[in-house]
């Protein structure tokens, strides 16, 4: 069981690096969507016997992270008529290197932190930390609003991975609330992005510089 789980988590970590290295926005969106779907499958692997609530959460996650949000982002992409990230604040090669370094650091850190007996040997903690840092890098290093949203999604994916450590013990009510909040968050972000596009005629956040000291 742990091997299959680790395979999926490793896949998610690889998708981080793919998203960090890619300059084309559609492939960044695809990487984030694929990562969300991979994560959606994980709760089913963790459960020993099928529970319908876990199933609902898994299906909800896959639907929202894998289809609904990417669809919204692609629509924004078409409306703004952009295809690639032109001038990132942190270049693609440096961000890829930083992402790789973060992955190594996360594996090292994950080895030090104490885990529960049943979870020893799983990559959940390193995978989560690497994904959170990868998301941060994208959030900070990119100029296009869509890339920043993808960074935020990857950051959330990392936190979701960590949340799986607790899936057997915390009430699913909380998890459902979290999923709901995230969905609404992305919708709100989408609406604001739409307005920014109309108001500034661009989705380049470098143009958002009126407000400063």
């Amino acid at each position: 069981m742990t091997n299959t789980l680790n395979l999926f988590i490793g896949l998610a970590m690889g998708l981080n690096l793919l998203a960090l290295a890619s300059s084309r926005l559609p492939s960044v969106i695809r990487a984030a969507a694929l990562q969300g779907m991979v994560l959606g499958i994980l709760p089913l692997l963790l459960e020993h016997e099928f529970q319908w609530l876990v199933g609902v959460v898994a299906v909800g996650t896959i639907a929202v992270k894998g289809f609904v949000i990417p669809h919204l982002l692609r629509r924004a992409l078409r409306a703004a008529n952009i295809d690639r990230e032109v001038k990132p604040l942190i270049g693609f090669v440096p961000s890829l290197l930083l992402g790789a370094a973060a992955t190594i650091g996360a594996v090292a850190l994950g080895g030090v932190l104490p885990l529960l007996a049943g979870q020893a040997g799983s990559l959940l903690v390193p995978g989560s930390f690497a994904t959170v840092v990868g998301g941060f890098l994208m959030l900070m290093g990119r100029a296009k609003a869509i890339s920043q949203v993808c960074g935020y999604l990857i950051l959330e994916n990392g936190i979701y991975l960590f949340g799986l450590l607790l899936i057997n013990s915390t009430p699913l009510l909380v998890e459902a609330g979290i999923l709901l909040d995230l969905t609404v968050a992305v919708f709100v972000i989408g609406i604001i992005m739409d307005r920014i596009q109309k108001e500034f005629d661009s989705l380049d956040t470098n143009k958002l510089t009126t407000l400063r000291e």
């Binding site: 030090v112 932190l113 104490p114 885990l115 529960l116 959170v132 941060f136 959030l139 609003a145 920043q148 935020y152 950051l155 959330e156 990392g158 936190i159 960590f162 949340g163 450590l165 607790l166 057997n168 013990s169 915390t170 009430p171 009510l173 909380v174 609330g177 979290i178 909040d181 609404v184 968050a185 709100v188 972000i189 604001i192 992005m193 307005r195 920014i196 108001e199 500034f200 956040t205 958002l208 009126t210 407000l211 000291e213």
Partner: protein, 487 residues
């Protein structure tokens, strides 16, 4: 039952606002809901019920110590809102009224939440509900502010979720069953020994770092304060007042609740040091920016950063300090209410917010200018207003704890903030009005609806400072008792 009413009444009125057909009368739903909310929270302040064990939310001593203030703040702001929305009839107000009411309901839920997960869900939803309030004006600048708020606030909220998970995992590692209520967590960590303590301790520390960063972002502690000037500058005055007095208070309550759990795990020295460092740094950053900003609404944002720093310093100084910090939550929020509302009036009379283009407001908007200057003296801790007494108590707590350096740095930052604030306020109020301002000021009328609410805030601030009601002091003492006692 009443605890639930605090959450349900605003949400019901919010639903009503969505279906209300008349644009003109919709704003009256705000004072109606606010009035009911004040009545029930004052009722609960006087006749506070015992907390049911295992409840997800409830009017516990900490909620009792701050929630009546949020009700009062909202109620007075809602009266101002009626007058405000009347002069802003060119903007549709359905979403605005709805979001304000939902925000009130969510703040009541978050302050009363007894469970780490529920607290997070409410805090995140409150963050999202603020976004439509920020871009009410619909300008390009307002969207820029909303975007920055979403990105920074969203990241902060994400960090606090990760921190909540870490704390939950720490509890699992300590042999817990995954009960995320604050009472259970604190009770579990306080008796840890041996292997359990070794296995959970790293996670407790990670949780504290992440949760402080996350909820600190919501509070606006430096260096996570960067959304504040943009948002307070662009949002309408009432929204600024509610954010500076309501949302930040909710985040402070969250920090206090988490601190209680981490303290129970034996890390009280770490929590105190980090809070002290963040607090003093926030005060310093705010004082420096106050000396340079040219915009009088952004000025209020830096002043808010400064006062969040004061709260953090107070919370770091032990029992007396926490008492003074809860006192300061009241005095600061009510005084800030007066400042934001009068600044909103001046902004409308002047047509702009930059000091180089605004002067002579004492002639254009005499009553608002007087309120603004009085509010300035109140917030910079001049007697007889509340902030003087609460800040004095924090200084006393610092000397009692033999933290002389802290007290000195605290007073130094207050002095610089005073210089910065007076520089801006008198530049706005004094001098000759600009020609452009004379025409905009002629259209602006100082009606009772926009003058009485800030006046009421100043009155409350002076009243709570001069004659602190015994009921409130008792409520704060009970909250301190809850926070420092070992379960």
């Amino acid at each position: 039952m009443n605890e639930l009413a605090l959450i349900a009444v605003p949400l019901l009125f919010a639903a009503l606002a969505l279906v209300w057909p008349r644009e003109r009368t919709r704003s009256w739903l705000l004072p109606a809901a606010g009035g009911l909310h004040v009545a029930s929270s004052l009722w609960l302040l006087v006749f506070s019920p015992a907390l049911e064990p295992g409840a997800w939310f409830g009017f516990d001593p900490l909620a009792r110590a701050v929630l009546p203030m949020i009700s009062l703040l909202f109620f007075v702001c809602s009266i101002y809102a009626v007058a405000y929305l009347k002069v802003r009839q060119e903007r549709r107000n359905r979403l605005f009224v709805f979001a304000l009411l939902v925000l009130l309901g969510l703040l009541s839920l978050a302050v009363q939440a007894q469970n780490l997960g529920l607290l997070w869900v409410a805090a995140e939803a409150a963050t999202l509900m603020t976004v439509p309030l920020i871009h009410f004006n619909g300008t390009a600048r307002a969207f820029e502010a909303s975007w920055k708020y979403l990105l920074i606030g969203g990241t902060g909220i994400a960090l606090s979720l990760l921190g909540s998970f870490c704390l939950g995992y720490a509890s699992l590692n300590a042999g817990g069953s995954g009960d995320l209520s604050f009472h259970a967590l604190a009770g579990q960590f306080v008796h840890l020994t041996g292997d359990y303590a070794v296995k959970s301790h790293p996670w407790v520390i990670a949780a504290w770092v992440l949760l402080l960063a996350g909820y600190g972002t919501k509070m606006g502690l430096a260096p996570m304060h960067t959304w504040k000037p943009d948002v307070y500058g662009e949002a309408p005055g009432i929204v600024g007042a509610l954010l500076a007095g309501g949302t930040t208070t909710m985040a402070f309550v969250a920090v206090l609740r988490v601190k209680q759990v981490v303290d129970a795990a034996g890390d009280s020295e770490m929590t105190q040091r980090t809070l002290l460092a963040f607090g003093l740094f926030s005060m310093l950053v705010a004082a420096l920016f106050l000396l340079s900003t040219p915009d009088f609404k952004r000025m209020l944002a830096y002043s808010s950063v400064e006062h969040m720093g004061i709260l953090a310093v107070g919370a770091a100084l032990g029992g007396l300090g926490i008492w003074a910090a809860l006192f300061h939550v009241w005095t600061n929020s009510l005084t800030k209410g007066a400042l934001f509302l009068s600044a909103g009036n001046i902004r409308r009379a002047a047509g702009t917010r930059n000091v180089s283009e605004v002067s002579g407001m004492a002639w254009c908007a005499p009553l608002s200018a007087r309120l603004f200057v009085t509010g300035l003296f109140a917030i910079t801790a001049c007697p007889p207003f509340g902030p003087f007494f609460s800040e004095l108590l924090i200084v006393r707590a610092a000397f009692t704890a033999h933290a002389n350096f802290t007290a000195a740095a605290f007073l130094g930052c207050l002095l610089f903030a005073f210089f910065g604030l007076t520089r801006l306020v008198f530049a706005v109020v004094d001098g000759r009005p600009h020609t452009a301002a004379r025409t905009t000021a002629r259209r602006f009328r100082e009606t009772a609806g926009v003058i009485l609410p800030p006046l009421a805030f100043l009155g409350c601030s002076a009243w709570i400072g001069l004659a602190t009601p015994a009921l409130l002091s008792q409520a704060w003492s009970a909250a301190v008792q809850l926070l420092v006692s070992k379960p």
